[in-house]
Symmetry: C2
Subunit: 415 residues, 2 copies
């Protein structure tokens, strides 16, 4: 099999399994007793439910906080993260989409909710849900990522944690809604307008200023997520979607858009979501999320039980466009193998990557590196910290390193 | 606006909203009181849950049986349908994916479940879930449709019902799993093998014979649905996925694949799922589902409240490949306008279509007609019944007609 190696420490050619059966040999030989009838086949099963739920055996696949000792709060600000290490494909199921709220999840009656468009427009407008149902809609698959995702990689020593704990403020869904440009065209945009204040109806009054150009380009009033109405924790009955921009700008529970000449300098864009740099400098209004890849399988919490074949798999995304390629290293970045990308590869959406790997039982350091279709290449942690310092809490897209010990244990390291 | 008309009875050019604001005027003018602070903004909201649920205000968006007077059963065979009229986009959320079971939903312990591959293979194999987790996976978006979907259109008079009741045995998800060909390559297929018996571990022992060529082409052992593990009612811990083939062949709770020279003539492919034709003839083993389009918005249950602009939207799919185009008529098939297709347009997946419509308040008959990339065009009901008779219970893909009354009421009719 040596001529099938694509890079050091056992990385195999990504086309290996398209061409041949490759002898994984994880199965055992079947015999007559393999076909005995299990208990659950002997009696009629349960009824069909109006709204389905996962198996009780999957109760550990749930959203959770950054650290295990952080209890879920009863109200107020906080976040819960998608369990990336248990998920597959590109779509995050709605029950496991990450959530960040600045003052809890409001209980909004859709009949009473209104969306107001005002400020620098010819005709200020107010929309009910029923009004909005008349407008033409668009459906697109996009990720949403919190600006604070992967923030632990700014820490001076590697934080122990799972893919969920370190990178789980990232999810991807098919969103359906109304292009904001349609509603602004109806309101009539004043030529002096340059920015749009978006404000939520939650108790935090979460509000951000978004460039009008972005709003007119591809922003959406999202009403549906993966086919059904957006859920309360993700903005019911409607949220702003600004594809590729940091999560908090996709304002949930959206109640108004106000067109202005300048950004409004809200509390949410001054006290938070600015990037502290070296020498007292601050980068404000860094909106799109740069390309990032995270290996989810294997990742901390997995235990490799035997040497031999494994599939390395993970998620990659870019706020600037499509993922062009993902490279994977098993030797801490010394050599790289190009991963296979699972289609459809869509702009500002999660792309699943996969690469076959033969683990020899030796220590290994797994890394994944995303390149997007602008040509941008995800930096190492050393390069990112070198450029930016480590006082910034946001926009950390450094390459993550998972150490595989000879025992098969997987651990977050800096390498 | 007359030069924007694309077909009779108010159908507009599908590019209308790409080019201009078009003046829908469903909103009302905003004033100061539009921005009063609602009750839910005045106090912190609810906590974030480990596994999210839809809003309580969306409780009517649920799966249900064919007819309203059919109660959900407690156990045994039955089905529940996706609420197509309330859904958007191409993805069906897992909680609303249609279900059909022949003897209830088994409560399978994944640790004890086994998949056996035997029959005409060199090395019979047995796989645990843990074994399977070692194999390379693939992710693809595919619809699943029950062969009995839309069966009411064989009735001599139009059955009253919603899109859900008439066509809701159709859903679409991103499936992730292992190509069956990888596992069969490992078992070593005997050259004499032509068919594969797939059997479920449910109390019905649901079993179907699938051509080996299809299995080697694009069949998958599906372990994940929209990112998370397949749910119990959709086959937990694993189902066979045979993209584009009738739903029951995507055997749920899959426990074995047996390679054979001929189909096994199981109870599920003789007493059921054969197509009764005219003059005592029967069509057996009609596997792929032919192209179909269904308008979901508006559809029965909707009430148009005023004349003016509406978006007509719906779902189209083909078991033979991609949807190439969808045409929509507002005058019962006399004239047609081409609908816009919402990308990505994928093979054997649901494609959302949309077309703008100006309702003048007159009676209208809405129809949608799918064409797939083989050139196949969805037939009218008259043509389908003419060719096939109306004794067949399955594979009805005739064009559906929704009548819009001058009152705005929407009703299923034959036209």
């Amino acid at each position: 099999m040596t001529d099938e190696y694509a890079a050091g420490n056992g990385l195999l050619n990504r086309r290996l399994f398209l061409a041949s059966g490759a002898g994984i040999l994880a199965a055992t030989s079947a015999s007559a007793e393999s076909l005995t009838v299990p208990e659950w086949t002997k009696h009629p099963g349960a009824w069909l439910a109006p709204y389905g739920q996962p198996s009780k055996f999957e109760a550990n696949v749930s959203r959770g906080p950054l650290a295990e000792h952080n209890a879920l709060y009863e109200s107020g600000p906080g976040s819960v993260r998608s369990p990336l290490q248990f998920l597959e494909g590109m779509i995050t199921p709605n029950g496991l989409h990450f959530e960040r709220s600045h003052n809890g999840v409001p209980d909004i009656d859709p009949e009473q909710h209104r969306l107001v468009i005002h400020g620098l427009v010819k005709r200020p407008l107010v929309f009910t849900l029923n009004d909005l149902s008349r407008y033409p809609m668009t459906s697109r698959i996009h990720f949403v990522e919190c600006a604070g995702n992967s923030g632990a990689l700014y820490n001076k020593t590697p934080t122990a944690g799972t893919a969920q704990q370190l990178h789980g403020l990232l999810s991807c869904a098919e969103w359906t809604g109304i292009p904001v440009s349609t509603l602004l065209d109806e309101a009539g945009v004043d030529p002096s307008a340059q920015w749009v204040l978006a404000e939520g109806a939650d108790a935090a009054g979460m509000s951000r200023s978004v460039p009008l150009a972005k709003i007119m380009d591809d922003a959406m009033i999202a009403l549906y997520q993966n086919g059904e109405r957006v859920r309360p924790s993700n903005g019911y009955p409607m949220r702003l979607l600004v594809p590729g921009f940091q999560g908090n700008m996709n304002v949930k529970w959206l109640r108004r858009l106000k067109l202005t000449t300048t950004p409004m300098m809200t509390k949410d864009e001054t006290s938070k979501y600015s990037l502290l740099l070296n020498e007292g400098k601050v980068a404000q209004f860094k909106f799109p999320l740069d390309a990032k890849a995270v290996i989810t399988k294997p990742s901390p919490g997995f235990q490799l039980k035997a040497q031999g074949f494994y599939e390395i798999s993970g998620v990659a995304w870019s706020g600037h466009g499509k993922i062009a390629r993902v490279d994977v290293s098993a030797d801490g970045g010394k050599s790289w193998a190009e991963a296979a990308l699972s289609g459809p590869v869509l702009p500002k959406a999660v792309t699943r990557f996969r690469v076959p790997w033969h683990w020899t039982g030796q220590e290994a350091v797994l890394q994944a590196r995303a390149t997007d279709d602008t040509g941008y290449v995800q930096p190492t942690r050393t390069v990112l910290i070198g450029n930016r310092g480590n006082r910034a809490a946001y926009h950390n897209n450094a390459i993550t390193s998972w150490n595989i010990a000879t025992t098969g244990e997987v651990k977050h390291v800096y390498a």
